[in-house]
Symmetry: C2
């Protein structure tokens, strides 16, 4: 089958890597000539935000999917009109692309997400008391396009553009759950993972699985995933990012309509990875089991501050000596501060052992130039 | 690093698939334009048996390796002269390529292998009593080039060419052990696996791990792998195929200087796969842990008799519904009787459950056209 992917980054690369177990042809579209997918797929250099480029790319594929949500959804809608299968469909991509539509989607489907109001270009009519969170309607990614407005001083930095103004949650834990639905309507949910964010870069730092939660919290999450899967009239793999607040209530922070950094530990930690699951969604195959038999965790390999240029993974040889430790690099030759260059998955027999190993590994390796 | 592989078949494909976790460039050489490695590497169509072709292919690589042993070893020796790293080295490839040299290698290093004599083109001087095994000196592969001569009637079929004439072992079990050695001299051994051969096609049928053997047999195998790793003055990953005879004695049947079908279950059954290990050998990295935490088994997907043409995997959708079951196809579009098209790995909590699952899966799927 000819599978087209909008985006040629690491998520696409790991999807293709997993899918090399099967017999499909992968085509990728990315503006960067050194995109991680370039040499492992039929590669087209081009802009996935451009209507004509996406239309041209998709027209001879059996199915078109995404590895980034900031794509031209109108072109995907036109491809659907032309009878090309698009996974997830253009409607849900459009909904999730725009934070305002995304919030309305939660509201309409009784999915708990923090109280919000819409700011359309002017700050005058904001009723939300400080502190609050501002999320740009479009263009947010990897923590960009999101800011906390704590006081009147911060108000000067308010972005004057369409945004969601959201109540600031008093966060106890950041959780994530990856769900999948195929065209036949079959659904599967991965075990919940917990994220520990690096406040400086706002990128995931550690992501661990499983998480032991109270029955009440488990059932809140179950209710959210069920409502979401029911409301989403599209096949797809979705990462639902959750906040658990200090009063024990679970809120949806946001959803990605694609493979997600918070699911990387599934590569060795679960019976099947998010990449295997995504492949099955795209092909409308029976969904894979998502059981976990061990403790697993992931840490991102992010370009260190002060280093730009040809990447060197300092300390990597020592990391490779560690048992149950799995290095995943993304085929990027150039590092820069904060760039996601790879990740490392670790398995362990207990949560304590896992955290110790993650902290140890993190201290051993540095992404420099 | 620029890694060149002679051969572009499924072993190379799975090596590259695994190594997509890292940042290397893979180049493959294969005569078939539709080779499994074609679209996932920089591909050169050409004959890996041809001196000039291999020399030309290898000259600008950082390291050259193989995924099939029937390559031009003289060209590899010349590449070594020119300062290109070849893994495994040309000398051990040459030794293993030729059954006569291979048998002498075992003899010289006190590695137990069945009693033999050399037949150089004429059957007149064979002293070995019937029944015996004839192995062609060169060109044997996947059970080809090997025949059992049981009686005077069979003697008419004796190949009149350089061969090894070997005592027929009264086989209780066929075992395999994969060993690895890097340039630093570090070595690792995978757990022993047991093969159940299909007498008709002489290809592996099931391959299971772990195997529970007596202390005496374990220690015979340990002695063989130690002697082998000591005698082999080359980095490499090697599959040592063993016979356990009915008197409890272990013999080396033959060795492959490469990735091997009997190691495929390591993909999901071991902490790291033979492909990860091979990658580390090629790059002279610390070797990976080979522990196994579960029962694992593999069955080959072989083209059914009577079907040639565009492949159909009948029953595959039902196989994909099974938990802890992993399908690996080789990207081959055309099937023919006996062609290895893929394999399926299965995990289980006991040997009994494993065998039941393997037999069930085997009954569910058929490779037809």
């Amino acid at each position: 089958m000819k599978i087209g992917i909008l985006g040629g980054g690491q998520l696409g690369r790991m999807l293709i890597q997993e899918a090399l177990k099967y017999d499909d042809e992968f085509y990728t579209l990315d503006p960067a000539s050194d995109a991680p997918c370039h040499h492992i797929s039929y590669f087209t250099q081009g802009n996935f935000n451009d209507y004509e480029t996406v239309l041209e790319f998709g027209k001879d594929k059996d199915v078109v999917t995404i590895e980034i949500e900031h794509v031209n959804a109108d072109a995907l809608a036109e491809l659907e009109n032309q009878g090309i299968k698009v996974v997830p469909n253009s409607r849900i991509i459009k909904t999730i692309q725009q934070k305002i539509l995304q919030k309305k989607f939660y509201e309409e489907n009784n999915i708990p997400s923090p109280e919000f109001e819409i700011m359309d270009g002017s700050s005058d009519e904001i009723k939300m008391p400080l502190p609050f969170v501002q999320k740009m309607n479009t263009g947010g990614y990897d923590g960009k396009g999101v800011q906390v407005i704590r006081n009147n001083e911060d108000m000067k930095n308010l972005w004057v553009q369409d945004s969601v103004i959201e109540k600031l949650v008093d966060i106890d834990k950041e959780l994530s759950v990856i769900v999948a639905k195929n065209e036949n309507g079959e659904t599967k949910t991965f075990p919940v993972t917990e994220m520990v964010a690096d406040p400086k870069l706002n990128l995931l730092d550690f992501n661990v699985c499983p998480v032991f939660l109270s029955e009440d919290i488990d059932s809140q999450i179950k209710s959210i995933t069920e409502k979401f899967l029911n409301a989403v009239h599209s096949p797809g793999l979705f990462a639902i990012e959750l906040f658990l607040d200090k009063e024990g209530k679970v809120w949806v922070n946001e959803t990605a309509p694609r493979l997600h950094n918070s699911g990387h530990q599934s590569q060795e930690g679960n019976a099947n990875s998010q990449f295997e699951q995504m492949y099955r969604v795209v092909k409308n195959l029976p969904l894979a089991d998502t059981d976990t038999f061990t403790f697993s965790g992931m840490l991102n390999l992010v370009g260190a501050e002060g280093f730009s240029g040809k990447v060197i993974y300092e300390g990597m040889d020592d990391v490779l000596k560690l048992p149950k430790t799995y290095v995943h690099l993304y085929g990027k030759t150039e590092t820069k501060p904060g760039r996601k260059m790879g990740h490392i998955n670790v398995l362990a027999d207990s949560r304590e052992e896992l955290m110790e190993k993650l902290i140890k590994v993190k201290s051993m390796v540095r992404v420099i130039a």
